[in-house]
């Protein structure tokens, strides 16, 4: 069998990061080729290069025997590439069949032939062996079924290569099984599949070969049968796993936060407690309601029912302002849209939450704020030529430090980190971890929502796991294991 796709010396630069650095490798036809790497390793960028969504600065892409400097989405489609992104590209208010044939012309020049479309759609699903009513509205389907619609979309064309970006991240365990059966069927038909996933067991189950990426570099490709999990992890992380999380030895203190029977924002009956000097991890799949929970506690979403106690006293939190007053801080997962003010300087950002404290009769005391910000810059190691630098010009890690400083400036004693290291390179991750440890040392208590298993296990003292808006389980440090967490998270 030949090579369906080859990349030669492909590089892609983004502000502050080299997303792909001289990447060369090839995909054999008819195989299931897994692509692994930590968050920010460059997998998503690589897909975008192959799908024509972005142009690399350097390198050559050889597809179907022809050489290109860069692809366009149309050209990539024409060459038989289909992509299933983590976020679905479906129109929720249209039916399954309309979504499958969106943008394609079946029928006469003017009027579409819906009957034919329906038949074609049914054929695809029959072949998969799944039951989907093709006239149903896409918004009515489960995420798993929606994903099948995405796959069906690619199959209306003569597709040769399907790229799946973390297809199992947001669907249930049963749906994952169906997905694997479909992948096997597609493989039998001769379709090549690039399968991106964080989950070891999945990759070992369905992939023929695996390629590893790390920090924008291509590390290597191995046949699945010749490689162990441990070797894969070492390749991905580039070091022994247990080295990457700084040690911490702080006795558990008083209970600082108690959440009792909390309902709201899609979550039901959640109770847990947080002790001083503790990092409490919250695990769960995408859509399990973790961010939703954080927003209720922080007053950014409405609580229908329940009590929140800080230091044993019930507090009423209706707005983020109330939460800040109660000593609770929240560092959002979506740094660019919820955390930072990108179009403003560092000092402006760090001071925005504590302005009232640093003002005399409404007038902002610029000198005092500059002192405060310079102190934070030193303490957190924010790398920038000056505190007047615009935040959008900083790297992801430094942006995150600015957002953390913004919350620390309010003297919060309980801080909820939502995906603290998303989109941050490995070096900066270490700094964030050390920062979290330093915070704990100073008596701050932390709740950490994370989708990175290693981070959860490495950093937390205790982990609670959520599943579909409910608490599914709790684990003490000695019982931590990826399997246990995944079982709880999948509702098993």
């Amino acid at each position: 069998m030949g090579k369906i796709l080859e990349l030669e010396h492909v590089s892609k630069l983004y502000p502050g990061v080299v997303a792909l650095d001289d990447v060369s490798f090839s995909i054999e036809e008819g195989q299931v080729h897994a692509l692994m790497g930590e968050n920010g390793a460059g997998k998503s960028t690589l897909i975008k290069v192959i799908s024509g969504a972005i142009k690399p600065e350097q390198g050559t892409i050889i597809i179907g025997g022809e050489r290109y400097q860069s692809l366009t989405p149309a050209l990539s489609k024409e060459k038989g590439v289909g992509v299933i992104y983590q976020e679905f590209n479906l129109v929720p208010t249209m039916s399954v069949v309309e979504n499958i044939f969106l943008g394609e012309r079946i029928g006469s020049k003017i009027t579409p032939d819906f009957k034919k479309m329906r038949e074609m759609a049914r054929e695809i699903f029959d072949e998969f062996g799944v039951e989907i009513n093709v006239d149903e509205m896409v918004s009515e389907l489960t995420p798993g079924k929606q994903q099948l619609v995405e796959i069906a979309k690619t199959l209306t064309r003569n597709v040769k290569l399907i790229i799946m970006d973390e297809p199992s991240a947001s669907i249930s365990v049963a749906d994952v099984k169906t997905l694997f059966e479909i992948i096997a069927k597609l493989k039998k038909k001769g379709v090549t599949i690039i399968y991106i996933s964080h989950r070891m067991e999945e990759v070992f189950e369905i992939a023929d070969v695996v390629s590893i990426m790390r920090d924008g570099h291509y590390i290597g490709t191995c046949a699945m049968k010749d490689v162990t999990r441990k070797e894969l992890i070492t390749m991905m992380v580039g070091r022994e796993l247990n080295e990457s999380y700084p040690e911490r030895n702080i006795p558990k203190g008083e209970c600082v936060l108690e959440v009792e029977h909390l309902y709201g924002n899609g979550d039901r009956d959640i109770s847990f407690s947080l002790h001083q000097g503790e990092i409490l991890g919250i695990a769960g799949l995408v859509g399990a309601g973790r961010t939703e929970l954080a927003k209720v506690i922080y007053g950014a979403a409405k609580m229908d029912h329940g009590t929140i106690k800080v230091d044993g006293k019930t507090v009423k939190i209706r707005t983020p302002h109330d939460a800040i007053e109660a000593g609770i801080g929240y560092i959002p997962e979506d740094r660019k849209n919820e955390g930072a003010f990108l179009e403003f300087p560092i000092d402006w950002n760090i001071s925005i939450m504590c302005l009232e404290k640093y003002s005399r009769r409404m007038v902002v005391e610029v000198k005092k704020i500059e002192e405060l910000v310079e102190e934070f810059q030193k303490k957190l190691g924010i790398k920038a030529p000056s505190i007047k630098q615009y935040v959008k010009n900083l790297s992801g890690g430094n942006q995150q430090k600015v957002v953390v400083a913004k919350t620390l400036a309010t003297n919060s004693r309980i801080i909820i980190f939502d995906e603290p290291t998303r989109g941050i390179d490995v070096g900066a991750k270490q700094e964030i971890y050390q920062l979290m440890n330093a915070m704990v040392q100073q008596g701050i208590s932390i709740i950490m929502i994370s989708s990175e298993m290693e981070e959860l296990i490495g950093m937390s003292d205790r982990i609670i796991v959520m599943h579909e808006g409910k608490l599914a389980g709790e684990l003490e440090k000695k019982d931590f294991s990826q399997n246990r967490i995944l079982e709880y998270a999948s509702g098993m």
């Binding site: 630069l13 502000p15 502050g16 600065e57 950014a300 959002p332 955390g339 003010f341 403003f344 925005i352």
Partner: protein, 333 residues
């Protein structure tokens, strides 16, 4: 180094575009007509446009917070009509009328804001509706007739002088100082920018977004109220469409002044320059004896140019950022 220099030069131009443009306009019209630079003409221009400057100061609060209000012209008409009727038909004293005008200005702006908030609309869409309502009400009240015979003590506000400075210009100056103080020195001013820059981040930072919107609408309403008083007093009579088209002039001026359409940026001095650019264009075109209707064409072109420049600068800055950042990374490797 070269890149840095270029960057800051373009940054300077961007921050002071309105003043540079204003200087260019002055030079051109100064050459075309010798009367342009006379003290009488300059004071005249300022006097004629003081009410626009004041209203634009208010509207720039709204635009800095990321919204657009197109009802301001009709709000001014309605406001003028109401106080003129109160003074001529019901014998209300000018002092009370001034207070009523200010309060009515605030109420109209709050109505816009609350409709947008409750219906979860952009302010722009809400004001598309309310501007027609305001206009309709103004015509209903006046029966399309001009209301003249405003009390002389009221007219002084628009026609009087302090030394050689017209009262409207003096009021505009005071309000300019107040507004720049609020925006640049107080924390409330920073909150305005924060909301314009990123509403969700502002909310999560504990800023009371709804409260701030009420504050912003009140300031804008206060300013339109004052604008309505000065315009009515200067004209000495009021019609139901005296403010028509003002929203367009104001939005263009605010954009020219460097307040971004996306909110979150802006210098208040630029807004003043923006108003003056448009004023000088129409004044200069009159002095050059050009047909009045060409002014509409010219204003439209200028508005598009201002928006285009804004967008162009944004894209350019993005590209520059990528280049410099990418370059740094390469060196490190």
């Amino acid at each position: 180094m070269k890149l840095n220099k270029k960057f800051s030069a373009s940054e300077f131009l961007r921050n002071n575009m309105a003043w540079v443009l204003l200087a260019v306009c002055c030079l051109i019209f100064g050459v075309i007509s010798p009367n342009f630079f006379s003290l009488v003409n300059i004071i005249n221009i300022l006097n004629q446009n003081a009410y626009i400057i004041i209203t634009a100061l208010g509207i720039s609060f709204i635009m800095m917070s990321g919204e657009v209000d197109i009802s301001v012209g009709y709000a001014i008409s309605l406001n003028g009509v109401v106080i003129a009727l109160l003074m001529t038909k019901f014998g209300m004293s000018p002092v009370v009328a001034v207070i009523v005008a200010v309060l009515l200005g605030i109420v109209l702006c709050l109505v816009n804001m609350l409709i947008a908030y409750k219906l979860k609309l952009q302010l722009f869409m809400a004001t598309v509706g309310t501007s027609t309502i305001f206009q309709g009400l103004a015509f209903v009240m006046t029966q399309s007739k001009t209301i003249s015979n405003l009390p002389p003590s009221f007219k002084i506000i628009g026609q009087g002088y302090i030394g050689i400075i017209p009262i409207p210009v003096a009021i505009a100056l005071v309000l300019l100082i107040v507004v720049s103080f609020i925006l640049n020195k107080t924390y409330v001013g920073r909150y305005v920018f924060a909301i314009g820059g990123n509403v969700e981040a502002a909310r999560l930072a504990g800023i009371n977004v709804f409260g701030m919107k009420i504050f912003i609408a009140s300031i804008a309403g206060f300013m339109t109220g004052i604008g309505a008083i000065i315009l009515s007093a200067r004209l000495g009579s009021v019609t139901a469409n005296m403010g028509t088209g003002l929203e367009f002039t104001i939005i263009t001026a605010v954009l020219l002044g460097g307040v971004s359409v996306r909110g979150g940026e802006g210098k208040i001095s630029g807004v003043v320059a923006g108003v003056l650019i448009l004023a000088i264009l129409s004044n200069g075109m009159q002095l050059a004896r050009l047909d009045v209707y060409y002014q509409f064409v010219a204003k439209g072109i200028i508005m598009l140019a201002a928006i285009g420049f804004d967008v162009y600068q944004l894209n350019r800055r993005k590209k520059i950022t990528i280049k410099t950042q990418g370059g740094k990374e390469n060196i490190k490797d």
